[in-house]
């Protein structure tokens, strides 16, 4: 097993441990991005509130912070603690988010944009926090200001060493201090812009955590702010050195390193770290299947695929072939990860079709609907006995490894609901297990939601009402939950055996079966290798 697969299983196991405590949908590790946004808004709102009471002159800055922390602890003091603790928690959330996306391999290939645009966010978060610590103008602020400016002075960009502003009490002017206040407003605004850019190449970006999780997080922050209020560390005095300071190890954790290592090494290290992070998506790039392809003869521009694509890779454009529809869809190959969700959303994706070649409105070149139907028929032939279960599995979940009676897809939402109908009504199996990835987080963002909504007949294309829900199992299990999935599938098979065969079967047409076998043969090799590679 590769290192990434080991890490993925480990992280999956750790996240699983939080499911019983929070519920899968509130699991904080599966909501790191939305939590980052939520914490940003807490920091922004409390920052605006604190600015009402804060004196921006160097003489009274410390006194104003002390006044709001002590005399008005019940509102402004709490706001100050919230401001600090939410910032620190944002650092934790951001670093976990970065590590998690790396481990789950969501940073390479067509998903490079979100990764690369996330790198500056790391630095802007740190810069926002560091400039914030200056403003308190206590001994920690003095230490941070002096160390930061000495580090900056190592760059040959300033006309005069800015550290000279902190040489003596007389050398620091209120005007310079006001510049620091400006920086602490400007940098978070740039951070917000960077965060907005970061989510531009995904559709329906989650910038709000579930309400329950938001309530839990805010509640904990408020409670801790009341119990352990943030405090200052004595007024700054440029005639002395703040020899011992209580560090914020989240935002200022690198300062001891800056103290010990030459500035040139720090800047070189920071530059290399940034370049390595930016370059990761191409080291090496992920081998991805070719982008989805539109077949206009089978597309009426209904835009269901536009609505369902998790990556904003499909757009609606003016009709170009003279057909009597106003629109057609267009795929941006630079964004399409070939998850197949668009194929599952297309009303033309019906495996029942017998006339001519099975082609749908939007199809994957390397794994067409015809090939999928053929694979299903082939997998069904491997099933024997009572309670036959055909598994439609996600390549990133517990059933991601090929096995008899199993069809592994890049995402279970690639399977149109009519495929489940086809499997049952053609008697290919007594039931269908839809084995997706972990409930808390879909590898392709929206696949789990769309699958559930289609089956519940809440989202087009609907599962036909004639399909008995009791013969469909939806099981969501991460790579570390193989045993649970097997137990659920075994229970489902036993229930199907007790139910007996599906009554309204219309057996598979022999010609249908022959055509499918040919399609299966052409589709298997490259795709199988790709799925196995993705699961590694």
């Amino acid at each position: 097993m590769s290192l990434r697969a080991t890490l993925r299983r480990g992280l999956d196991r750790a996240e699983r441990g939080l499911d019983p405590l929070f519920g899968a949908d509130w699991n904080p590790l599966a909501n790191l991005g939305p939590l980052g946004w939520f914490l940003f808004w807490i920091v922004a709102a409390t920052g605006v509130y604190l600015f009402i009471f804060f004196d921006t002159g160097v003489v009274d800055a410390y006194a104003s912070v002390e006044w709001l922390s002590n005399d008005h602890w019940f509102h402004a003091g709490v706001a100050r603690s919230l401001h600090r603790y939410a910032s620190d928690l944002m650092v934790v959330v951001m670093l976990l988010h970065l590590a998690r996306e790396f481990v789950f391999d969501r940073y390479r290939g067509k998903r490079w944009f979100s990764w690369v645009t996330g790198v500056p966010i790391v630095w802007f978060v740190y810069m926002s926090g560091i400039t914030g610590y200056w403003l308190v103008w206590d001994q920690l602020a003095q230490y941070v200001a002096q160390t930061s400016t000495e580090l900056l002075d190592a760059l040959p960009i300033f006309a005069e060493p800015i550290a000279r502003n902190f040489l003596t009490p007389e050398s620091l002017s209120s005007r310079f201090f006001t510049l620091l206040v400006f920086l602490h407003i400007a940098i978070p605004l740039i951070l917000l812009l960077a965060m907005w850019i970061h989510i531009q190449r995904i559709s329906l970006a989650r910038s709000k955590p579930p309400r329950g999780l938001a309530a839990i997080t805010l509640g904990a922050l408020v409670l801790v702010s009341l119990l352990l209020p943030a405090s200052s560390q004595g007024p700054a005095d440029l005639a002395t050195v703040p020899a011992v300071v209580g560090l914020d190890w989240f935002l200022l954790g690198l300062y001891p390193v800056i103290d010990m290592v030459p500035a040139g090494v720090i800047w070189t290290g920071a530059l290399l770290f940034t370049l390595v992070l930016i370059g990761l998506p191409w080291a090496p790039p992920r081998a991805e299947a070719p982008a989805a392809k539109v077949f206009l003869d089978h597309c009426n521009g209904c835009a269901r695929c536009v609505a369902d694509c998790p990556y904003g890779a499909i757009t609606l454009v003016r009709r170009s072939d003279g057909a009597p529809f106003p629109h057609e869809v267009e795929v941006d190959a630079g964004r399409c990860v070939a998850c197949g969700i668009c194929m599952g959303s297309c009303p033309s994706s019906t495996p029942f079709r017998r006339s001519g070649e099975l082609i749908t409105g939007i199809d994957l070149p390397e794994r067409s609907l015809a090939a999928l139907r053929a694979e299903v028929i082939e997998a069904a032939a491997q099933l024997t006995g009572a309670g036959r279960v055909l598994t439609i599995a996600c390549g990133f979940g517990a059933a991601g490894v090929p096995a008899p009676g199993r069809v592994v897809l890049p995402c279970v939402a690639m399977a149109p609901p009519s495929l489940f109908d086809f499997i049952l009504s053609r008697g290919l199996a007594d039931g269908v297990a839809i084995a997706g990835c972990a409930e808390r987080d879909c590898q392709n963002r929206l696949g789990r939601s769309w699958t559930l909504q289609r089956i519940a007949r809440e989202r087009d294309p609907f599962l036909r009402t004639r399909v008995p829900r009791a013969r469909l199992l939806t099981a969501w299990a991460g790579p570390s939950e193989v045993a649970r999935l097997e137990a659920e599938t075994a229970g489902f098979a036993a229930a199907l055996a007790a139910m007996g065969p599906y009554a309204d079967q219309r057996p598979l047409d022999p010609a249908e079966a022959r055509g499918s076998a040919a399609a299966a043969a052409t589709a298997t090799t490259a795709r199988g290798a790709r799925i196995v590679e993705a699961a590694k």
């Binding site: 405590l21 003596t168 997080t217 943030a230 005639a239």
Partner: protein, 168 residues
């Protein structure tokens, strides 16, 4: 305890512990940036080397070749000379370095910002600077006996208007 209530309570408790840890690590453990019984001496100033040493008078031929309104008698190099600074602590050289002028053309002042850690207690400090290349020895020199307290920040600046080196 069922469903969401359980999640609110258990999830809330886990989050509370996490945030409490975050709050604790936001101010602890402490970091000592300066060893005990030590003071910080910073030698820092901005000063341009004297360009006049490299000036020379134009020859009559050179002057004649110039338009009338541009016939300045002296010609000076745009680039400033480097300065040389030396700091002696208790009779021993603690710092000695040449600082080049700043700017792409070398026309800006030389800059200095040096940190030295000294044991707390009495010290004799002598600082010298040469800002003309033709000077033998130093153009500026000052000596001060100081009593440094632990964690004291002591600064040596240079201000020509104040007569040279300034001790803070």
């Amino acid at each position: 305890m069922k469903g969401r209530v359980r999640h609110l309570i258990l999830g809330g408790l886990v989050t509370l512990v996490l945030v409490a840890l975050v709050a604790w690590f936001s101010a602890a453990p402490q970091w000592r940036s300066l060893p005990e019984q030590t003071a910080l001496l910073r030698l820092s100033f901005t000063h341009g080397g004297d360009r006049s040493a490299a000036c020379r008078d134009r020859t009559e031929e050179e002057l004649a070749a110039l338009p009338e309104n541009m016939r300045a008698r002296q010609i000076c190099d745009r680039r400033r000379p480097p300065i040389f600074v030396e700091l002696e602590v208790d009779g021993a050289i603690a710092f000695a370095a040449e600082r080049d002028p700043s700017g792409l053309a070398g026309s800006g002042p030389s800059r200095l910002y040096e940190r030295l850690l000294l044991p707390a207690g009495a010290h004799e400090l002598t600082v010298r600077m040469r800002d003309r290349p033709d000077t033998e020895g130093f153009d500026y020199e000052a000596t001060r006996r100081v009593e440094l307290a632990p964690a004291q920040s002591f600064v040596i600046d240079f201000r020509p208007a104040a007569g040279g080196f300034v001790f803070h």
